[in-house]
Symmetry: C2
Subunit: 375 residues, 2 copies
Amino acid sequence: MDGFDFRVVARDGRARAGLLRTPHGTLETPVFAPVGTQGTVKALTPAQLEELGASLVLANTYHLMLRPGDEVVAELGGLHAFMQWPGPILTDSGGFQVFSLSAIREVDEDGINFRSHIDGSSRRLTPETAVSVQENLGGDIIMALDECPPPHDRQYNQAALARTHAWAERCLRARRRGDQVLFGIIQGGVFPDLREQSARFLTSLEFPGYGIGGLSVGESKPETYAVLDLLGALLPEDKPRYLMGLGTVQDLIEGVARGMDVFDCVLPTRLARHHSALTHEGRLNLLRSAYRRDARPIESECHCYTCQHFSRGYLRHLVQAREMLAATLLSIHNLHLLMELTREMREAIRGGRFGQMISEWRRVESRGAESRAMA
Amino acid sequence: MDGFDFRVVARDGRARAGLLRTPHGTLETPVFAPVGTQGTVKALTPAQLEELGASLVLANTYHLMLRPGDEVVAELGGLHAFMQWPGPILTDSGGFQVFSLSAIREVDEDGINFRSHIDGSSRRLTPETAVSVQENLGGDIIMALDECPPPHDRQYNQAALARTHAWAERCLRARRRGDQVLFGIIQGGVFPDLREQSARFLTSLEFPGYGIGGLSVGESKPETYAVLDLLGALLPEDKPRYLMGLGTVQDLIEGVARGMDVFDCVLPTRLARHHSALTHEGRLNLLRSAYRRDARPIESECHCYTCQHFSRGYLRHLVQAREMLAATLLSIHNLHLLMELTREMREAIRGGRFGQMISEWRRVESRGAESRAMA
């Protein structure tokens, strides 16, 4: 684990501000990672991402192992060279997508057989191949293979947890590269005892960081936050915690309040491609004819490139005319909003103002604006 | 015509380098204008266009009058504010698209009835509406309404020419704004006598500049260049000449050699969206599996953002995975190539080296590389 360490530099309640050093730069946490599923954050150049202040980018192992293939990425210099992202990269294990994207799959104790959603070919993912694929991809942070059951199925979660734990041990043993860190993934659905069991087992293996999986798959917000409350207290204070796949404004704020450090979510860029802009007063659907002659930016206080230049009327025109620039400009705005939010949270934690920030936010949120905006 | 003038600053044979002053900046000619059909150069932000060194941008009257509507653009501050292009903008008259895009049209002496290709609604374009729409759009250079017949139909060309000339006079009379210039458009198909007749009539009206229309619609290269040879000698030396719709490398070089100043073409950005990269040795089809593991840039000598960062292997992956970034990165490269070419031509003309440049280029071209590349 050359070139890595994690240090909490400030606390406010359970919330922490930290520094996560990687061979490709030091991340200030809490951090939100835009998702570059196929080795590109959709509709944005790396230069635009850098301008947005992005630091960590996520890429999906499942997609890249199928296309262009992890050996191809390795031959072209690994993900940093391939997608030209100079900062830290996190890759997931592929497990989540195998369960959500591939039509046919069979899990056994050794691994998972599945069919590619691209060409229908038979593929197999085991803890060992998940690690070797991620070593080929060459991200800074890689994830252990886990099984993602439906969150409310206790029996399935119990059986899956045994596999997830055995696979975590095998992933640790399979590692070859010294310039990546492998995070374990805590599962257990909505069941506190299973979550606790998972946390206790995986922390005994002394991973350098922990992912919290299985929480963007159909459970309620109170259920999610109950799991985070539990794990925020159980997980070691000196290791980074990565809340996988969650990234609404509410998730970020409530996650940070419960001691989470790293977040990723496709939502801001996916909404952008479906003509939705995040704002502090709810989402705007830019296809609405109400915006046709609207000379205002998405948000008048926003400092992003989009709001500094373009009217809602122009964005509405781009959306209606199906111009690619719509996705680019809305992605810039939506990511900027989340980047600014995490920056504000880091500063608030360092300045001892996070408690105040979150109670103000919850007051506004309880008025329902946020639930309309980010549900 | 406040804020406009045109000055030839250097000549080399028939080729000229000039300065075309507009209220939104001075264009160095020869100049190539990227096409922003619907008020956006597809897949690029204005910031990216500026980085490419673009100076003049074209927008299409036909598209914008139908969607979002020229009154909407006017209400949102005109095209410069709407699409946030700070430099000069040229709008065409809409005539060419009425003839090429709308399914049903009827031409009479007064104007053209047509059906919108978007919603099938009945619309009418006359010289007066073509001018008032372009005044609403607010470009710096606007174009007279013309009729674009098939280039080899003599009878049709003869009849259309009478209308085009009458319409040119009506466009001149219809103008209200003093901060735009109106260019006349010379038609006449491939027929030297008609072209000469058109040039003599329109120059008698003393337009501040001339478009040469009807030359990207099915005629051969020798036919095109014969028309340009003729018009290069007939048109007044002190007025800018705009070769409408042509913009391959060959067209630019052979057009400049014949005294043309302004060019526009959808080709570089359209090819980019169909995974083709222009190079000095022909086009690359980035979908080819040959590029899968190719770590080289599109062109090793190229200084564009794309070639400075990305491998053919990555671009091939983006194309195959249908990622929007493919269109952005290929548009950047293709436009950069044409921007560099026009810059080199300007410098060659100013340095008295254009004759040498063009004979070298023709030597290479005669080996067939260029014809494979840009045909």
